[in-house]
Chain length 358, copies 4
């Protein structure tokens, strides 16, 4: 397995959905960063289940417990160990899934790869693991705040309900004002309705998260293979249910020509900038100081109440219908996860860049 993310600022995680706890170790975090535990907890709360009517009604309190690496409120340079207890596990709920390969889940592939699997709640493949990313992302955000880098993600599309406005036409302070985390209130209402309709039908729906990073200095990103966009893509595609990533002009402007997409440089009072930002803030894998923006598409959660045909480990046909507690749409809860992973990538790039020159 490969349970470590990052180069200098590195997160290693452990834990299954129904074990004692999940947690992780953050290594390579510079000393002297003030840790606002309440902020870390607030970030966890943005991801936790049961936070609104459109998320799963499972209740997990997700209390952060730091075990090391912080002394008198500051990081010491030592690894930061942390745990989040698994409070609400009803493992017996999963006994009927012991031998079943659920469609759209990782049951079959884990079994093929490892010859054994913890079938309870998806085991290691559960999206519950993303809570540990939130913790590392929160610490990265606290460091980035000191550097002046700010990261905001939001829901830009659910099913066929999409915001058509660009991020700079939106008021991103409104993201947390609705349960679907969409800064356009009208679209948000439609999105919530769509998710509700899906749930009532025992179905699920996906969508797109947009993320905007502002305040990045020019110079972050490591050519050649560690281009900033490659690190971001790697981070995003490691999130459960993510199916794609693009940045800047991306897939949407594929029909445009070079002359219309080239961002031309200009000077304004000794500050160099570009008149447009089709590049998405990155050129040659290195940040240019403009806003970095990218999209991540998430598939509908595969756990649905509708009856589905599948097989068990013996190859026998089985009919399956999920009972109860699951999200009809993971996108709103994916928003803080996207931010967290972006924060880890950016802070790691910032630290790596310290070796660019002597």
């Amino acid at each position: 397995m490969s349970n470590t993310f990052g180069h200098i600022f590195r997160l290693t995680t452990f834990g299954e959905s129904h074990g004692t706890a999940i947690g992780g170790i953050i290594d390579g975090c510079p000393a002297g960063i003030d840790i606002d535990t309440a902020f870390v907890q607030a970030e966890l709360d943005r991801r936790k289940p049961g936070q609104s009517s459109i998320t799963t009604q499972r209740h997990e309190d997700d209390r952060i417990e730091f075990l090391s690496g912080i002394f008198e409120g500051k990081t010491t340079g030592a690894p930061i160990g942390f745990c989040i207890a698994n409070a609400d596990h009803r493992s017996a709920d999963y006994d009927h899934l012991k031998n079943v390969y659920r469609p759209g889940h990782a049951d079959y592939t884990y079994q093929q790869k490892y010859g054994i699997r913890d079938y309870r709640g998806g085991g290691r493949a559960s999206a519950r693991e993303t809570a540990t990313r939130i913790v590392a992302g929160a610490i990265a955000k606290l460091a980035l705040r000191a550097i002046g880098i700010d990261i905001t993600a939001y829901t830009t599309q659910i099913g066929n309900v999409a915001i058509t406005k660009n991020y700079h036409e939106l008021d991103l302070t409104q993201v947390e004002n609705n349960i679907v985390r969409c800064p356009d209130a009208a679209a948000a209402t439609q999105m919530v309705e769509l998710i509700d309709a899906c749930r009532r039908q025992g179905d699920s729906i996906g969508g797109i998260v947009q993320c905007v990073i502002s305040g990045t200095p020019a110079g972050l990103g490591e050519p050649l293979y560690g281009k900033l966009q490659a690190e971001l893509a790697y981070a995003m595609l490691s999130i459960n249910a993510a199916k794609g990533f693009d940045y800047g002009s991306g897939f949407e402007q594929v029909a445009q020509t070079g002359s219309s997409l080239n961002d031309t440089f200009y000077t304004d009072h000794d500050r160099i900038g570009t008149r447009t930002n089709f590049a998405g803030g990155i050129q040659g894998g290195i940040s240019n100081g403009a806003d970095i923006y990218f999209r991540v598409v998430f598939k509908p959660t595969p756990t649905i109440s509708k009856a589905q045909q599948t097989i068990d480990m013996g190859g026998n046909a089985v009919e399956l219908a999920a009972h109860g507690r699951h999200d009809a749409c993971v996108v709103p809860r994916a928003v803080p996860v996207v931010e967290a992973m972006a924060a880890i990538v950016l802070f790691d790039a910032y630290l790596q860049n310290r070796s660019a020159t002597l």
Copy 2:
């Protein structure tokens, strides 16, 4: 910088567009693989400039020279050093660009990051580096062939000219039969016309490459952060001009519900499969044995003949127009690069998977 790609099978590369040579070291290649040098050269020829009327007319012969790691035609387990001489460099062509920040290029960001840059032909940021990836990819392909894994990429869209058929409705043996590398002959003709039109206007155009990997056994891919799709996304976004990646249902099927995208399992004579493949051959980051397919979107090359406004290092306004030898569309030459990077990822995943069980 970060010029190494891969975990067990690792490529490290060097070289600028106008230096003596580019090259690399392939480390971690198992011993005993037959190296068909003619195949490696043929793969390089698929990428080389000047191969057709729609590619740059620069002539680079791109002869592979292996320096180590191969003995009597077989890999020995020792690192494979190789060089490709830079034959046709006219560095003087670039003197006028010495102090200019070309729009859409990495001149500005390299200067900001390193305080110095080799301005000749884009230096390290030149797509010429991708030739070294072709070499490592060709060796990975030779190894994958023995395992039964086959990789084919093709052009599926140029500007607004797109194939609408799915890959399994196409005859992929036709990819190399036209200069744009599109298996649909009618679309290929339109694509060539579009590229020609762009060139005549001194402009450029981008497009989309689709890649299909067949014969992958179930079990490849390292959860949690090293999911197979994350490794592929990382590989693809490290290619010059790539702006996005998706796999399986991706961005295109974002409006569909879980019940329509869940691939249901069935058994056919002891073989387990899924009736559909919206997953794109990967579940939970691990291959499930079905075809893996993904898309990569490329922006138009920023080098265009049309006059563009920009600035120099002193902040002075400059008008810029490229002379001569450049591609109006990099997509056809990106096709073998996409294949090469996919081959490296797959072979690396294959080797990593050997530690999944004791």
Copy 3:
């Protein structure tokens, strides 16, 4: 910091001497290994404080708690998270050391490097961290047992009391029969007397641990930089108080010539071996199938009761004398740590070697 050890089988650890807990994550452990928790605990007990009259009288129960990665008694391929609670911390004992740089300790260097330090019990620099290595080493030993590799370390010298016999002249089953872990009973008695004498004088003493690895198949070790002896040296020099490493002929046979140290090959019933083993079981960085043996020298613990002159953070002269609970000699408790690190290196080398050939 760099709190991860290993390449495929990787241990990442966290925790300070006086925090809530220490612990770690073992990543890359193959699935399907039977975990004998009682064995892991027994290994921890070999290292724990207070186990005999010559070790520190601090009492730490050091109970292993596994949090993930083990399901129904077997490893699943998922990361193995574990904790060991810090039971007996009397942090107030350390208040007087808050501003003092203890001689021979890492107080000064941590302060210089990080600008902050957890002064309680040595913080992250405490040898207490080695308990986490024991856990990973125990799991590696369980895997190696299945492969047929066996690792035994023992005390070969304390101060000027040394065993003169070679390891194959000793009965290594006697190692655990005395509290100093020396297989020569007469020497063991002298060693215990020497340690007792040192303690009575408020002083401390060092020594040498010898380690023997038998049953290693030929082929383990990764040239060129990852030679098996280099990995072992790296592992051993990362242990607190270790000051040197040698293997095979080492420092002791420096005066001998090539003709006397070359191990000549012979064949015995299709088995190839060498008549002598000055090489120490490794040639060119790769195991040759013979016993691997090496030595690690440990300095006396710097914590002593004798009064010492030092300074505080303000540069003022301070007289220091440790009170109470510390080892007069760490060597007996280092024996299982040496074994654990050797086990991690060997198992990691075994997994790496799976990619030597296709």
Copy 4:
């Protein structure tokens, strides 16, 4: 294989003794370092064969050729590719060794590990590879010079001829004044005589290299597993023929007590130091600002002219006697290799330390 050394400043090498060339790629070198090519060449000349009457009479000119990463005399941040041509290979000299396992060499282990080996001149196992380390070490030295760190190694023992003086009692400017690289002229004469005597007898002899690093600021080294001494040990044990490493009090002062080895702190005009330096300049894995010193023991080269009994790949007994060109003692040529590896470790530690604090 594992042909990359270093974390941020990384060397990856390739090449066999009798291939076209050996070489490497230095990645992660900061931009803006002045490269004095003459200095790099002079360092190579210190290692090259045929430099004196006591080294092998093979003639290899070992000309450094840089292929990338340097522009107008300065590093650019791009990877530095380099080659050294293999000028004087007489591969036919090795045909009789094709099937033979030479005693003390890596023939047998490479064959066992990889199932194939380049038998000419030891192939990848040849110490010729160390020339590439000299190149990276020279660049690290140029960077360290700017930081104020200086590295000097010397021969302190050959066979039973040893210097008894400590390094600070010697005049280290005399090291290059004799062919054995010993700063004590009288000892040097005896060492040369001993080596000559060994050669006349068709035998070989080993010895010990001492290395001193001065000017290191406090704070370098990454606890916990990447302790500075662990990185140095790893580097040194990766050198051909190295059998052991110790630093500070090491093996030699094993009989002394804690009270005599603890270095007590004092203050002198705001500068903190220790009155003694048994620690060897490192505490808790972190440099403390004092001189770092360590020893590396090298075995006699296994290539000797005396007849030796061994076997071939078929298991048949063979008598072997080396003809001609080989060193009777590798220690004098190992001196610059030790320095080079130390320089890489120190510069890498310097760059890593930049992330210690925010």
